[in-house]
Amino acid sequence: MIEYLQILGQEIYKIIFLLVPILVSVAMIVWLDRRVWGLVQKRRGPNVVGPFGIFQTLADALKYIFKEIIIPASANKVVFILAPIVTMTLALVAWAVIPMSKDLVLSDINVGILYLFAVSSLGVYGIIMGGWASNSKYPFLGAIRSAAQMVSYEVSIGIIIINVLICVGSLNLNDIVIAQTDLWYVIPLFPMFVIFFISALAETNRPPFDLPEAEAELVAGYQTEYSGMMYAMFWLGEYANILLMCAMGSILFLGGWLPIMDIYPLNLIPGPLWMIVKILFLFLLFALIKAIVPRYRYDQLMRLGWKIFLPLSLIYLVLTASFLFYFDKLPKVNI
């Protein structure tokens, strides 16, 4: 029994060492997002708290913690409280399988990419629960919009993942990274990378697809009735999801923890650093797009997802498969 307790203790220790850096980097990423947003619009952005304003998010978090949590009288209280918890938990739980280097991963499971996909498809529930439990019109409309949007774009993300998987021949995230040693998949699968990136924007409700919280139409969408710490949890979960999508993009297309080229000065840099650089690169793209692109209309968003991205990724899937088959490059399974 003591052995089990020891194992349990070790696991908890590892989990804490995974969660704390993620929460800190989420705080940093919020600051970075606002800074980039400011710089694009020729403002300074948050620059008061701490050097370059790094501690702005911590100050905001403190403010949220000390604010009162207001629960509307007509809300379904249990579901209302559960919704931000679900969002936050699902956003953090997915990080268990993200490999930061060959050995630096919490659980190296066989179906890592399926796990990521499953957890990101569960993300809908936090939003839909929050919107319904608020018992108010704007949150409900926002939640319905958001759920439809996320379900639609998941389909094309799934097909893009299959595109990568038929090149790799394994569902393990480490195998996916190792298969890219010679050539990152961003080069042969470049159209898929673009579609993945845009679908990731829609999946995480980022501008230009932030229709669930389009402030001109729906006040703040599903977050309208939330306040204090519960709002902050939605917010943290959203940014953790964005980081997760960036990590997924860098694993699937940008070679994860691999260096750009396997030559002398570059391969001295440790894997986790490469991974962080790639995640940051993708996040900078996310932040720039937030600042420079206007919002889509809802029917345009749906049209883009179902009529353009889905057929394109299916066609590309057939092309990839026939290319691999014709040139006899299909991954070999050692049986």
Partner: protein, 208 residues
């Protein structure tokens, strides 16, 4: 092994409890939430017996897509609160139907599980060869070779049902303006703007 057993009972108790709550809870929304909890714990049970691919697919398909649609329907139809619970209401017509269906399912289960033990050379979990191939590969190897025909037929049946559902709900509405992107982009000032002489006190008729 003890930890394994503890986890098994943990998940199965949650699964049984939540499936009971699905049929007994008064609020329909809560039923759907308990259904989701049920799916998740069954998925965990799948993973615990080593069928990680099936478990994940269960999560993706049922929890990620089917249950979302259930929630949609329940929320949209506004059938949230049932006035009387099924075991309290006096004249409920659902009980006999439900009883017949559940008795049938119970009989089927008995036949299947009973017949299972007397079939010869049936593969059982104790005679499984433990190999290095992950079970995703194994499912693929069986599904796309020996059972390719059934796989394709299942796909076609699903496609047909999808087309049927679309046909059933499709109605053509008249008088709806549609946006044509090509027309919009290919417009230019010379074709888009038209100058008209307006006579005093008569006005002009503008067609759109």
């Amino acid at each position: 092994m003890i930890v394994h057993t503890i986890f098994f009972y943990f998940f199965s108790v949650i699964a049984i409890f939540s499936s009971l709550m699905v049929i007994t809870s008064r609020s329909t929304i809560n039923s759907v939430f308990f259904l989701i909890l049920d799916f998740i714990s069954v998925g965990c049970l799948f993973i615990m017996v080593g069928a990680e691919f099936l478990g994940m697919i269960l999560l993706i398909v049922y929890v990620g897509a089917v249950a979302v649609l259930f929630l949609f329907v329940v929320m949209m139809l506004n059938v949230a609160e049932q006035k009387q619970s099924w075991f309290i209401g006096k004249k409920s017509t659902h009980i006999p139907t439900g009883l017949i269906v559940s008795v049938l399912i119970l009989l089927e289960l008995l036949v299947v599980v009973g017949g299972w033990r007397y079939k010869e050379d049936l593969m059982s979990s104790s005679s499984l060869l433990i190999s290095n191939i992950s079970n995703t590969h194994q499912i693929g190897l069986v599904m796309y070779t020996d059972y390719i025909l059934y796989f394709q037929i299942a796909g076609i049946v699903l496609l047909l049902s999808m087309i049927g559902a679309i046909l059933l709900t499709f109605r053509e509405r008249v008088g709806v303006k549609k946006q044509s992107y090509i027309n919009q982009i290919s417009r230019n000032p010379s074709t888009a703007v038209e100058l008209k002489e307006v006579k005093s006190n008569q006005g002009v008729k503008i067609d759109d």
